[in-house]
């Protein structure tokens, strides 16, 4: 079975632009979470979605938004990009919400903001 997939692999944007990152979960998984990983640090939680509804939000500004589609894939949008948004953006999928299910991560999207 295919694991979590993310697109694009790499992305270069300039300050002030907007970006959309995409994620497809493992087949059968209904929950998708997004994390931001700055170089040298552990991933930081941004959002969790389950059954198309936002179930959790981390400490990120309103410039960050996300949604989940009926096929459980998800998009993360970031508006008005800042230099500090440069990071590896990770998507993780799990079977359910509100449980201790393992989260499986995709390869990530490397975003560089110039």
């Amino acid at each position: 079975d295919a694991g979590v997939t993310q697109s694009p692999t790499h992305l270069i944007k300039t300050r002030g632009q907007q970006v959309t990152l995409r994620c497809s979960p493992i087949s059968g998984h209904k929950s998708v979470s997004w994390y931001q990983q700055v170089l040298g640090q552990g991933p930081q939680f941004i959002f969790q979605y389950y059954e198309k509804e936002e179930r959790g939000r981390g400490n990120f500004p309103d410039r960050f938004s996300a949604r989940q589609f009926p096929n459980y894939s998800s998009e993360l949008n970031v508006n008005a990009l800042l230099l500090g948004d440069s990071a590896l953006y990770l998507c993780a999928s799990s079977s359910h919400w509100g449980s201790t299910d393992t989260q499986y991560f995709g390869p990530g999207t490397r975003l560089t903001v110039l």
Binding site: V4, P43, G56, T100, T102, Y104
Partner: protein, 115 residues
């Protein structure tokens, strides 16, 4: 606020030299502790989940243990291919008493194994 601290930040070993990585945590309600391995530029790869103090899990040269305040990842006779960043993360309950899926990560331990 939940906190996870990993030590050491970096560890250099000779092939075959066993050692341990530490993950200490301060959380309000632990639902699970997860270990991941991350290679440069890639996403974290799941290794273990531990749910209660005293629990142990093994996989090849790796063994994870859990106490009420910390977890250890023991590496026995490591090989160069074990070189990676090892991440520890905790899943905790939120104010409503559910664990909605927010993993809180430590900063990771960068392991380098020399042949």
């Amino acid at each position: 606020e939940d906190q996870v601290t990993q030590s050491p930040e970096a560890l250099r070993l000779q092939e075959g030299e066993s050692s341990s990585l530490n993950c200490s945590y301060t959380v309000s309600g632990l639902r699970g502790l997860f270990w991941y391995r991350q290679d440069p530029g890639k996403g974290p790869e799941f290794l273990f989940t531990l749910y209660s103090a005293g629990e142990e899990k093994e996989k090849e040269r790796l063994k994870a243990t859990l106490t009420k305040k910390e977890s250890f990842l023991h590496i026995t006779a490591p090989k160069p291919e074990d070189s990676a960043t090892y991440l520890c993360a905790v899943l905790t309950t939120n104010a409503g008493g559910t664990s909605y899926g927010k993993l809180t990560f430590g900063q990771g331990t960068i392991l380098t194994v020399h042949p």
